[in-house]
Amino acid sequence: MVVYGQNGSGKSSFVDAFEYALRNGKIGHLAHEYSGKHQEKAIINTHRPKSAKAEVRIQFENGAELRAEIGANGALVLSGAGGVAIKTWDYARTVLRQDEVAHFIQDTKGNKYSVMLPLLGLGRMEVTAQNLRQLSRSIEEQSKLQEIERIVSDGEVRRKDRFGGATDEEICETIETLHKRYVASSTNDPSTQCLELESALDAKIAQYSGDQRRHLALRAAAEVGLKTCVDHVRSTNSKLAAAVEPLIAEKLGVLQSARAYSAKLGKEGSVNCPACGRPVATKAFLAHVDSERKKLQESVTIFQDWKTALGRLCDAVKSLRSSLARPEVKEWRDDPSNAQLLKNLAWLNGFDADGIRVSCTEEELKAIEDKLLPLVDAAGLVSKTAPAEVTQLSVDKQLGDAAKTLLKARERAPALARLRDLVAFVKSVEEGVREEIRAGSQTMVGEISEDIEKMWSIFHPGEGIESVHLYIPEDTDKAIDIALKFYGVEQDSPRLTLSEGYRNSLGLCIFLAMAKSGASEDQPLFLDDVVVSLDRNHRGMIVELLEKEFSDRQVIIFTHDREWYTELRQQLDEKKWIFRALLPYSSPEVGIRWSKKTSTFGDARAQLDERPDSAGNDARKIMDVELALIAERLHVAVPYMRGDKNDRRMAHDFLGKLIADGKKCFQKRSGKDYVSNPDAIEALDRADRLMISTANRASHSFDVVGPESAKLIDNCERALESFKCSSCGRNVWFADAEGSEWVQCQCGELRWRYGKA
């Protein structure tokens, strides 16, 4: 079906109604801040009488009727549609509107993927993959995996710092010795020893004088290991900058799967690459996977080392702050000779230590060195004068603390390993699902791309833009994009080289290819003013495309383009297509109105009262287009004109030739014979005379009055109707008649012998 209507005549309301039913009471372009919660302010006619219902009804060929009643508050009640699977008709493959034509092309890769997902039939798998991803995140969060990782890592770091290369037995011996030194009771359990040692040391410190406690606090500040931590962060910063791989986690995931795949291969022969499908020697494939995995594994190690270094620096800064904030250090802080140090201390107190757990720039490292190392050095200087007993206790306390941290880490290590395995397990299943999605997507994308390429070649035969296809980018999941060759040069996106008009025709090809893929014959297509930016040549290809690819589908085309509508009426098979015109919109009380005729003279008549000159002018424009097409259909020979003048012939030029040829070529049946058709010639002649007088004045001097234009319109309409049979309703060029030179209407009442004028 083709529906013509001027702008504002109500064409899109039909599409809106369909979208409303399809999307369960939502119309995308009407969803905005002014349309009301249920779009009630935008959907319901502003002048609907209170007694009238607002509703959408869709009738189906099987007799079912879908009914959507819209309440005053926008509430929707849907009923009917028995036996019609309308809910499975996704909007993106059913309706294409003027402003949506290039949407797909301009959309992000992710949104393209989302649009195509239901089409690919992989929606449930994507949901599964998303659930698995969220599940692994949730396991990490709820088990506090990161915190446990930090505890375990901290334990190892403290061990290295305080015990160097000592074995577990040696560490236990050290703890036992300390325990004996400070605790009277006896136990063999290292954890209990650590706890008892801590309590005993705290009790001893509590008995210390203020001076002893000050020495202890300053010694603790001096031994936070700040310089080592800064150096470690600096070194890992540079290693990270040199070695880190983008998307490292994703790449490792792929390699993990590739490794599992390669484990099933024999060592000899060749294998088809699971990514590109090309044959690769098995040995080379295995070696490549292994070397890539090692390379990435090194990056992972560097990344983890960097995170550890940041954590240690953060802890050292916090520990320094805590030691220097103790009340027993007040005297040292208040010493007037430490004025510069006080400024540094103020900087330390205002510093966001937790921030460097995430990242730490070279500037921040320099600031830490400039501001905090003098504090550490000053504290170290004072602590050197500490009594021997205090120094010994400080060393013992640090050993005890390190041992306690180490034991805590040991306790958590098995749980950490199990939790990591659980997360790896869920991620591995997710990766498997994603592989399935990728494989399924590749197949579907390949099939749809073939259709896009085919349709594109119908639209743009022999042009330099080719190999238009969808592809799945290698570097990211959940993404689809479009590539093409522009005069032999590969382009990653049509947005790089295609003009707006070409993007629109590509958008149309993609929509039609998607609409064709996997859809049932029942599913209609709505094309709402989609040819606005296409030129006449390319617009004309749509007919070929629809007839070749969609002959078994119901297609509803809406257009405001009178010329194209006329072309469609002439070119599309009248046996299969219905043509309807909408009258121009006059008021909300009157609403949307169908014209009783399939022609577009309704537009002209609507202007008779207000603008009779425009009415006459419109009639002439309609005749220019209609007669050009009729002349073409009837093979009427017109004199050659130079350049684009060939395309600028006027109604009068065609009428003159049609009248002259028609006298010999246009015949009607009389009994068993055919005779000339003087009524038709008379109608054409009358229209021609009015074209010269009234239409010319309407176009140039604007002094025609309503009745004159009305007469012109009536006679133009009559002239065009003279080509249509009053018995069968078909035009004279409807079918080939006997012999190769005759065409006729369906019943044979009218006929035309072309080429023999």
Binding site: A260, F425, S428
Partner: protein, 69 residues
């Protein structure tokens, strides 16, 4: 993605994560077959995660008790 595929995938995943026990693996397999292809809220998934963690840690400590789904 039928039941057979899921079972095979679970076997593959266990190779990557050997410490995941039979019960935990069976639980995830059951979820894949029955629930994870439906839209689940974050709260629902958090509840599932909680159960899996409890299973995992109970497995490790030898504790065995019933818990809510």
């Amino acid at each position: 993605m039928d039941d057979d595929w899921i079972s095979k995938r679970i076997v593959e995943a266990r190779k990557q994560a050997p410490s995941v026990g039979d019960e935990t693996a069976a639980g995830i397999e059951e979820l894949l077959k029955n629930r994870l292809s439906e839209h689940l809220s974050k709260a629902e998934l958090a509840k599932i995660a909680k159960t899996l963690i409890a299973d995992l840690l109970d497995d490790a400590s030898g504790v065995n008790h019933d818990h809510e789904d």
